[in-house]
Symmetry: C2
Subunit: 139 residues, 2 copies
DNA sequence: GCAATAACTGACAAAATTGTTAGTGATCAA
DNA sequence: TTGATCACTAACAATTTTGTCAGTTATTGC
């Protein structure tokens, strides 16, 4: 449980007020979350299906990650009628569905550079490129 | 320092091999990283400028976050000639520049729902909707 | 009666991240 | 000589995240 008096908590909250970027990042941070959202978007919408897809996750941890995603309204749980024992379906909300293409773009971005795209310093950013970098001794 | 024998480390590595989405998320996770990348993209490219923008971050923590961003080649450090003491400029690489619009889209996504966009379960995903055709690529 | 199933929860331990404190070197201004 | 600046680093403590183990509910099949 979070300590509401910790510096870490206070810093996190202040970042959340600066920009939603920071709360968005915190919602998708977490060992398995991005992959879980992706798998659900692909139709693996049951607990045991997610376990099959992620053979190294434990039940406890999967349940915890799903609950956090639910807390952030990225998904909802629904009981499946007439199943024994009662089955649960994990369903992406519109918020979760909207997240998927952003995760895809993160994926492409990572892949591009992992696949060898040259990493360079754009010309306009180089030291000496603009007048702002005038060397000036302190005070 | 990471323990290379831990379950956590092994799980992280296996997620990295499943999809670059997971390494991308880990590169931007971290209390201050998204905001730092944004501020640098806005021209706050010096250590002390970032400190001004983030008054609650300590020098140690800022240095650490910058070093991690450098490790992932999102930015590079360059000495500014003829400055005393020697100034350092933080420069986004092309990889870092490409990340900025993705962070922006995370920001918009977060803001949309924080500002009150209704959260609903899309009709085609509701329990009882017709059996979904399961398309599933490798990831 | 016993095991199997689906989907969990609580308590705790291990590990990782974040924050704190103290210190560095070179240079200049007072 | 003292103090200020810039941009750090090392060592350690606090906090958070992740993983592990045991147990739960309700039903059905053998």
């Amino acid at each position: 449980m979070r300590k509401k008096e910790s510096t870490d908590y206070a810093n996190e909250q202040s970042l959340f007020t600066i920009c939603e970027r920071n709360s968005a990042i915190s919602m998708i941070s977490g060992r398995w979350k991005g992959q879980i959202v992706y798998y659900i978007s692909q139709g693996n919408d049951r607990f045991h299906l997610l376990q099959q897809k992620l053979p190294n996750i434990s039940e406890t941890v999967l349940a915890r990650q799903l609950k956090e995603l639910e807390t952030h309204a990225i998904l909802v749980k629904r009981e499946i009628p007439n199943t024994v024992p009662t089955g649960i379906k994990y369903i992406l909300t519109n918020k979760g569905v909207d997240l998927v293409p952003i995760l895809d773009s993160l994926c492409s971005w990572g892949k591009l550079y992992a696949d060898g795209k040259k990493i360079v310093v754009p010309a306009e950013n180089r030291v000496g490129a603009n007048a702002k970098a005038v060397a000036k001794p302190v005070s």
